[in-house]
C-alpha cells in the first residue's frame, strides 16, 4: 500500500521550504507515513548566492553544513507544530543531504514515494508570488504527486 512509502520534502532554508515542511509533516501524520527531508547542495565552487555567507571560506564539506542547517529547521518546525498541537508523524524524520541541482535531487529522492512537497519559492526570492524554478522542475519531472506550498502568510 502506498501509505507505507514516504512523504519527501525539499528543504533549503527559505520560508517556502518551512511551509512545505509544515505541510509534509501534516500529510505524513495523516497518512501514517515517514518524512524524508532532502536538502541539496552544490560544491562551494558553484555557490553564487549568500548561501555560503555564514560558512568559512573553504568549507571542507558543504553537505555537512547544509544537512546540519536542515536538521535545525526540522527541529524548529517540529517544535512549532508540537506547541501548536498540530499533528506530527509517528516515525522519526529522516534528513538527507544530497549533492546536485535541487530539482534533480528532489525528483530522484521522490522516485516511487507517495508525495513530493516543495515550497512555492526557494532561497533568493523574497518578494512576489511567482513559483520558483525548483518547484516547476519538480512538477514537470516527478512521477509521484507533487504539492507546491505557498509561504505561510500569517503565523511565523
Amino acid at each position: 500500500m502506498s501509505d507505507a512509502s514516504a512523504v519527501v520534502v525539499g528543504l533549503d532554508g527559505s520560508d517556502g521550504a518551512r511551509a512545505a515542511l509544515h505541510h509534509a509533516l501534516g500529510e505524513a501524520a495523516r497518512r501514517r507515513a515517514g518524512v524524508r527531508a532532502v536538502v541539496s547542495y552544490l560544491p562551494t565552487d558553484y555557490w553564487t548566492d549568500l548561501l555560503s555567507a555564514d560558512l568559512p571560506r573553504r568549507a571542507p564539506d558543504a553537505g555537512a553544513g547544509a544537512t546540519a542547517r536542515a536538521r535545525a529547521v526540522v527541529a524548529e518546525v517540529v517544535a512549532e507544530r508540537g506547541a501548536a498541537g498540530e499533528p506530527l508523524p509517528e516515525r522519526p524524520i529522516e534528513v538527507l543531504g544530497v549533492a546536485g541541482p535541487p530539482a534533480d535531487v528532489l525528483v530522484d529522492a521522490a522516485e516511487g514515494e507517495a508525495l513530493l512537497v516543495v515550497g512555492h519559492r526557494g532561497r533568493g526570492a523574497r518578494h512576489g508570488r511567482l513559483t520558483g524554478p525548483v518547484a516547476i522542475g519538480c512538477v514537470l519531472r516527478a512521477r509521484c504527486p507533487v504539492t507546491v506550498v505557498p509561504a505561510r502568510t500569517s503565523s511565523p
Binding site: S2, R30, R31, L115, R143, P145, T147, V148, P150
Partner: protein, 165 residues
Amino acid sequence: MSEGTDPRPLVVVGVDGSRDADAALHHAVAEARRRHGRVLAVAACDVPPWSAVDVESLPTDPEAVRHGAEVRARRHVEELLATAGDVPVTVVGRLGRPTRVLVDEARDAALLVVGHRGRGAFRSAALGSVGLGCLLHARCPVTVVRPPARADAGGTTPARAEVAR
C-alpha cells in the same frame, strides 16, 4: 486553515474527463478522507471569444453551457467514484478560464488538486497550462497529480486502489 460556512476542510479538484484529471479526483478524495473533509470537483468551461469562432456554431446561452458541463461532470464523477461514499463530493460547473475558476474556488481550500495535463472542456488545449497557472496563483497548497503508469500496476496515486471501473 479553511474557514467558511462548512467547517470541514475543503479539497478542490479540477475535472475535465482526462485521465490526469481522473487521477487528480481520486487523489483529492483520498486527501479529503484523511482530513475528514469534503471535495469540491469543479468543471470549468471556457467559452471562446465571439471573434474567434463561427458565430452560428456558438451555443446561445452560457448558462446552458455551464449546466451541460456540470451535468456531464457530475455523471463522470459519479461513475468514477462509485466507492467513495464516505467522502462528500460536490460537482459544480463554472464558466470561465479554468485557472481563474479553480484558483477562485480554492481561495479558502486546504488543498487544490489538478491533473498534470488535461484537456479543455471544449477543445484540446496545451495543458500543463492550467496546472501551471494554479501553481502560480493559488493561495493554498497545490498538488499536481499524474495518472498511474500504464498497466495500472503501480500505486502512483494513493487513491488508485479505490478506482472502480
